[in-house]
Symmetry: C2
Subunit: 339 residues, 2 copies
Amino acid sequence: MYQTHRPLGAMRWILSLLLVLPLLAQAANEVLPSWNDGPSRKAIEAFVGAVTTEGSKDFVPVAERIAVFDNDGTLWSEQPMYFQVLFAFDEVKRMAPQHPEWKEKQPFKALLEGDRETLAASGMKGLLEIVGATHTNMTTEAFSANAERWLASAKHPRSGKPYTEMVFQPMLELLDYLRANGFKTYIVSGGEVAFMRVFAEEVYGIPPEQVIGTTFASQFQDKDGQLSILRLPKLAHNDDGPGKPESIDSIIGRRPILAFGNSDGDLQMLQWTMAGKGKRFAGLVHHTDGEREWAYDRESKIGRLDKALDEAKSKNWVVVDMAREWTRVYPFETAPSKP
Amino acid sequence: MYQTHRPLGAMRWILSLLLVLPLLAQAANEVLPSWNDGPSRKAIEAFVGAVTTEGSKDFVPVAERIAVFDNDGTLWSEQPMYFQVLFAFDEVKRMAPQHPEWKEKQPFKALLEGDRETLAASGMKGLLEIVGATHTNMTTEAFSANAERWLASAKHPRSGKPYTEMVFQPMLELLDYLRANGFKTYIVSGGEVAFMRVFAEEVYGIPPEQVIGTTFASQFQDKDGQLSILRLPKLAHNDDGPGKPESIDSIIGRRPILAFGNSDGDLQMLQWTMAGKGKRFAGLVHHTDGEREWAYDRESKIGRLDKALDEAKSKNWVVVDMAREWTRVYPFETAPSKP
């Protein structure tokens, strides 16, 4: 009996191997498939290999594998304007019938009349008024429903795609790759936290409790047993620049070992990440692709990358050349658009 | 060959079974071993069974199994005074040589001279001054080192045990049991967040990023490339009462399905948890054990339980009778002290 079993066993073994081999090959290709073989992909793989190899001098236990990502311009596009600002503009138009006073009140009047010059002249103060009117004095639940409705129907002015499709395919792959290697992935963004939570889990695989952002003060309300959290028109935390390491310290309570950003607003988060002990990784998405996405850096009003680019170069941080290193920018590009 | 193998196989199988059976029996007892067969343990097991049984109408996906716990009086003792306040008192004594002005300045003078009456008369304002002086105007790193040093050496005035051993064995078991059933366990406490993070991971198995508490404003500092987070003497968030659902909404971004507290400061967190859809659990630790721990509720200055006890009774929340339901209070009790 043994004699007849052995060849069958061997055949089965060879057969299984034949079935498994293509899967193994495919698995190897599936790591960061939209990154070409350039320096960024190599640096990412070398870093992840080093911190996840037990016995390596650079090994980092799973619990400490914290990775933080900026959102606007790092995980999705931010042109011609931060998408959340476009949401606020659309919300003003939607809410205008309930606010007849806006017809005579700036900056709402300018926005409703399409008077771009006056709107631009209202500056940051005007923008904060628009954000306040569309983001606060309502419950978190009501706000989230508004954001959800907008994200489900609004289209990006250039691509005509929903905003949640204007995410970077290579960064989705990087998030997956890190999580598959035991990393906990966080968003740490200047965007408002409840807005991002509406899509972050579905689009990025990042759950609400791993989304950190700008926050408004809030108030617990109990109206005859009807409980809610009211969003107040008062900033509690501005999660930009130095606000990023501050919120990382306050909310995560430990230092990330990997950080990715794209603008000067991410500089302190990258510095804070790199200042810890042991092997660390800092990356910048450099918007170099005027064809498939946008090309901008030192002179841009949105997502200016100037000081952080200098520091990245002087400290050998990874600067991703989008045009050269990404074979695909958006998930809706069906085939790689560059070799 | 087969003929001789079969009985051996069967014997092996029976042998393995004999070896495994006691382990199975033990495993069954290992769930919440310090809880007797009272109503609280039954309610906990019924709830966890319902929300984790696939196909059950009460099933909750793993991602939504968020459990929140108060700390003082819920996970560890809080008598004769919140342990963090005792830490602040000890820190004033330790820091006094560097602060000669405290000899003449209240409430520090009273504290250093052991003048309890004057100290008590300084009230909440005095306490905040003491907490401010010992918790702020230093980096998070420096503060954590202070807290760590104190926790490693200080002893509780009655038990003579380190404070980190004054934790409730049945609650440690509950945390383990919930995590084994896919729950993410959080602390949501009036205590200051950096203080709790020093011991929460080791003692409770709760990582820094799942510790939520009262926070001070902070400031990112860059002194010639030396980076730090400076703690400012200004409250950013008071995580007590309505502050608890506010921080849950802001930091976790979804509603817990289980909450445990012990005082009126936890009422809004319990209400917020119970007001969601689907099956939910609210529990209160009732300090009924003057022998092994402390007995206090409606009249206590520390951890007053009055309104929340009424609401728990009217809404059939679980109220744990510590004296009757816990066979063991602290881990250092080697044998169950009650049957």
